[in-house]
Amino acid sequence: MLQQAEILESVLERYPSKPEYLIFMLQDIQADCGYIAPESMEIICEHANVPITQGYSVATFYQSFRLEPQGEHEIKVCLGTACHLKGGERLVENLERKLDIHRGETTEDMMFTLNTVNCLGACAMAPVAVVDDEYISSTTPAKLDKSLKAAQQQ
């Protein structure tokens, strides 16, 4: 919370106290902190003059909002139709075992967050995975392994 307090203050200064600015404020906090802490949510909702559950509702509606701290690196595995047929699901299961987390979760050392996406629009490269901003085509567990190691060493 302490990390978010200062950023929060500047966010609140930027927007008038109206419900229509709720999403803007959530986005700004998300962009600066990587996630929206419960206390920040409370303060933002109070500033926007909406019930705090409404902020929660908005934040869970959009995939882009996170309510928990995210790992340093994000792994996205595509589970769109093409990737699904080419074994995307197996990639995810593999990562779940390897990192000892479920999809949507973050490793204990806050290094990786594993997410699945529905389509990245790169079906020709199926199965696709993205580590941070690096796209991996025809992904295999071995290729993923290499990317994760590279990310870790950055």
């Binding site: 109070e46 909406v50 019930p51 705090i52 559950t53 409404q54 929660y56 869970t60 509606f61």
Partner: protein
């Protein structure tokens, strides 16, 4: 604007522009099925069951959200519409658990009804039940979100009607559900358990936690809630002569509409308490000199009462008998009760414990308005132009009034909250005036109102014309306050002057609705605060306006009616002063009986007289003074000195333990009668269930007593009492003719002139000192009504585990070293000492309290909070027993 003409099912209908097709059809007797629409909620279009077909365009549209348009040709049940409806219901059912046979909603399930009407049985779809945890942990609401159809009624009821915001949708699509913040259980959320969502839920997703009954009640009957002064209409579900379920009544034009509060919805299980009084009891003494209360019949018990009271009257005079009536009993009962006291026993010693529960405020405002401005509808409050809430306790004491304030704010009415505590209302938006740097001054409220008043005068924001016409400034208040510097007054109150300016600019030239707390005159400096408030109401012209004025929340269901019926030592029915000989004579003529000359004793004087030995007997109806009055030990000592105590009540309680005769009465749902609510609405009701055991309606017991005591008039039916009330009390001429009547006002709406009160310099009262450095306020929490004699007998309220911690400001908790304990989940036990007594309870930090303030919730632990209060503070004019200086000892 001109009405729009369209055709629905071949019938030409017309409706004002903006009407939905659904409403237009319903108004013309054409029913369209729907699962998500409710007349009190904004149209939403979630369930799509109300689809209709428009012939010209061939479109299918949801009739609840489509406004009527000229020349529309609508079919509400064409084959195409029916086909679509069926498919929608099939999809809902495919997702729904097949558990109808064991579902709490039983025959009230709207999904099942709609499915049956459409002929949907087996869906022939792949079942995809959306399993969610079955939540039964709290004693009020069972949540089985697997049965949710996402109609959003619960969410909309929460946001639009009760304005709490405890739940909202989560996620998207199939996994979306109405959830609390971070999907916590309800008891860990902001939910107040008003149950409004439960009554609206069309499926078994939300149902009442009921450990003693499963299924659909046999009958449902309407009555009026017996708890607070809002006077909500209830629909009681009855099976086997037991009230098994409570919902808001579906009648129109009720106070509460579709809402209720936790007490109204869930606490009525006290009616089934094993501690209900079932038989008349008379104290017997055995050979060894031990006494006990032995069951007997009404005839024997009432003979004892009539005989003993007559005997005491003969030996010690009329003044030696006292009568305590009840703001919980009906108008008819209070009328008969005071008449028995005055005519049969010849004493004006008739009062109620309302002296400690809100009567003073009702009386004072009636005095100031000269008996006018009696009707103050909560629906007007909802449409107010601006609201000033002072030390408001409506959220807890009279929750339904609180909903109306919040709805007004949601509609855009500016809200100014004057309160040192950060209540829910203070956090609701608007401007909150409070001592920003803390402070324990009991004069804060007065200073704040004066600052606001001076600022409004300085900016010309008051209604000069109204003031010149109606205000009588005999004490020179206006020049005195005009001479004050608003900023200096603001600083004196500890408020930043800009804050007061902001509030004044919001209120400027508006007709303001003022909402004081129901216990205002039981607080320190309450009278002076009311004077300041009243002056402000007067100069802003609020008193002459329909949606403005002073809205007095009443703590008890019939606080207003009991006073109207003359349940007061100085007043006859219809607010006729005993000191006024002509008024007294007019009543005496109607009664054809003499009325005692002298004004009677109020509650304080009665207890003192009992201590002194001049009062010998008390007849207590529907009150539990040993629980509801300050300093219960002193009250007990006084009552023990009496020769004879009669208690007529519904529950065994501490006062019945001292009684010589106990008469079992009937609770509100078990009798006929009428209550008058805080709005001036007289609501008549009939029994829904019969009283338990031999218990009888209180009016019937009183009628039998009158007969035993030799009174010639026989009140064999309630109608006989009503006839007399209609004759004697001018404002009740319509009593009983309809389910709802309004208190009638003779003559003009407002008097020719109101006196402006002088500018007060606040008295010191119970200011904290070195020995007792904190200032405590004994107030309400929504789980209990007043002293909690009834709510504490509610199995659900008890099971909710609310322990009524003593609430302490964060800074004080830190100083005392108890903040950390409470963060760890453990609740430190503290001892709270006042000059009058001490209590021990767990403590909790309340972030909304300023340093130096302590909140002690009433009603918990046998209402032990009264032990720290000062009985003498009840002595008129009352010095505010609810505020007391205290110190804390850590245990």
């Amino acid at each position: 604007m001109k009405n729009i003409v369209l055709t629905i099912n071949g019938k030409k209908v017309s409706a004002p522009p903006g009407t939905s097709i659904l409403t237009a059809a319903e108004k013309n007797g054409i029913a369209i099925p729907t699962l998500c629409s409710h007349e009190e909620l904004a149209p939403y279009g979630a369930c799509r069951i109300c689809l209709v077909e428009e012939e010209n365009s061939g479109r299918l549209m949801a009739s609840c959200v489509t406004p009527v348009a000229p020349e529309m040709t609508i079919h509400t049940d064409s084959p195409r519409v029916k086909d679509h409806r069926k498919n929608i219901v099939r999809l809902m059912i495919a997702e729904h658990p097949e558990s109808c046979i064991v579902c709490n909603k039983g025959n009230r399930c709207e999904l099942r009804r709609v499915a049956a009407e459409l002929g949907v049985a087996e869906t022939r779809l792949y079942p995809m039940p959306n399993h969610k945890p079955f939540e039964t942990h709290n004693p009020f609401i069972v949540r089985d979100l697997a049965k949710c159809i996402l109609c959003g009624k619960c969410i909309r009821a929460d946001h639009e009607r009760v304005a709490v915001g405890a739940i909202d949708y989560s996620d998207r699509g199939f996994s979306s559900r109405p959830v609390t913040l971070h999907e916590m259980p309800l008891e860990k959320s902001r939910c107040t358990f008003c149950g409004t969502c439960v009554s609206m839920c069309p499926t078994g997703a939300l149902s009442t936690h009921n450990t003693f009954f499963t299924g659909t009640p046999e009958t449902e009957e309407t009555t009026i809630c017996g708890f607070c002064g809002a006077g909500c209409s209830l629909s009681l579900g009855v099976s086997d002569n037991r009230v098994v379920e409570v919902n808001p009544s579906p009648d129109r034009d009720t106070v509460n509409g579709a809402t209720l509060c936790v007490r109204g919805h869930f606490a009525h299980d006290f009616l089934l308490s094993p501690e209900r009084l079932l038989h008349p009891l008379v104290r017997e003494t055995d050979e060894e000199g031990n006494t006990r209360l032995a069951p007997t019949g009404f005839d024997a018990a009432l003979s004892t009462v009539a005989g003993r009271l007559a005997d005491i009257k003969r030996r010690n005079g009329e003044e030696s008998i006292g009568f305590i009536g009840s703001a919980k009993c009906t108008n008819e009962e209070n009328y008969l009760f005071q008449k028995i006291a005055r005519v049969i026993f010849g004493t004006n010693n008739i009062t109620s414990t309302g002296a400690a529960g809100g009567h003073a405020l009702i009386r004072e405002v009636a005095e100031k308005t000269k008996g006018t401005c009696r009707v103050r509808r909560l629906s007007s409050l909802e449409n107010a132009d601006a609201i000033v809430a002072v030390l408001s306790d409506t959220d807890h004491a009279v929750p339904v009034a609180g909903y109306h304030i919040k709805r007004a704010v949601k509609k855009g009415a500016p809200l100014v909250v004057i309160d040192p505590y950060r209540s829910d209302l203070a956090a609701f938006g608007g401007v909150w005036l409070h001592p920003e740097k803390g402070g324990k001054s009991g004069a804060f409220g007065i200073d704040a109102i004066n600052a606001l008043t001076a600022r409004l005068i300085a900016e010309g924001g008051v209604d000069r014309a109204f003031m010149d016409r109606y205000a009588n400034d005999e004490h020179g208040w206006l020049p005195a306050i005009s001479a004050k510097d608003p900023d200096a007054l603001a600083k004196q109150a500890g408020i930043a002057p800009e804050r007061v300016k902001q509030a004044a600019s919001m209120l400027k030239n508006r007709k303001i609705a003022f909402v004081p707390p129901c216990d205002l005159l039981e607080r320190q400096n309450g009278k002076a605060l009311l004077d300041a408030l009243f002056n402000l109401a007067l100069i802003t012209g609020a008193l002459g306006d329909k949606n403005a004025g002073i809205f007095i929340p009443a703590l008890e269901n019939n606080a207003v009616g009991a006073l109207d019926m003359g349940c007061a030592p100085d007043m006859l029915p219809g607010w006729r002063k005993i000191s006024d000989a002509s008024e007294k004579e007019s009543v005496a003529a109607m009664w054809e009986a003499a009325i005692p000359e002298k004004e009677g004793k109020d509650i304080h004087a009665m207890i003192e007289a009992a201590e002194a030995g001049t009062l010998k007997a008390l007849y207590i109806m529907g009150e539990n003074p040993l629980r509801s009055l300050p300093d219960p030990e002193r009250v007990r000592g006084a009552l023990k000195k009496l020769d004879f105590i009669v208690v007529q009540d519904i529950l065994q309680n501490r006062t019945t333990e001292l009684a010589h005769v106990v008469l079992p009465g009937a609770a509100f749902a078990e009798k006929q009668g009428s209550f008058t609510n805080m709005e001036g609405r007289i609501q008549s009701f009939i029994p829904v269930v019969s009283p338990p055991g031999d218990a009888l309606p209180d009016w019937a017991i009183l009628a039998m007593l009158a007969r035993k005591a030799g009174y010639p008039e026989h009140y064999t039916a309630i109608e006989k009492i009503r006839q007399e009330i209609r004759r004697v009390v001018p404002s009740y001429t319509a009593l009983g003719s309809h389910r709802q009547e309004w208190v009638k006002q003779n003559g003009s709406e407002i008097p020719d002139s109101f006196p402006l009160a002088p500018l007060h310099t606040p008295g010191t009262g119970s200011e904290p000192d070195e020995k007792f450095p904190f200032i405590a306020y004994i107030g309400s929490r929504r789980w209990h009504l007043g002293a909690g004699t009834r709510t504490a007998r509610s199995a659900r309220i008890t099971a909710s585990g609310r322990t009524g911690e003593i609430e302490i400001a964060p800074a004080d908790a830190m100083d005392l070293g108890i903040a950390n304990d409470s963060e760890n989940g453990g609740k430190p036990i503290i001892r709270l000492l006042s000059p009058f007594g001490a209590i021990e309870r767990a403590a909790a930090v309340n972030q909304g309290l300023p340093k130096g303030h302590i909140f002690v919730p009433q009603g918990f632990y046998g209402n032990d909070a009264m032990q720290i209060a000062d009985f003498n503070a009840l002595k008129p004019p009352g010095s505010g027993w609810r505020n007391v200086r205290v110190r804390i000892e850590k245990m």
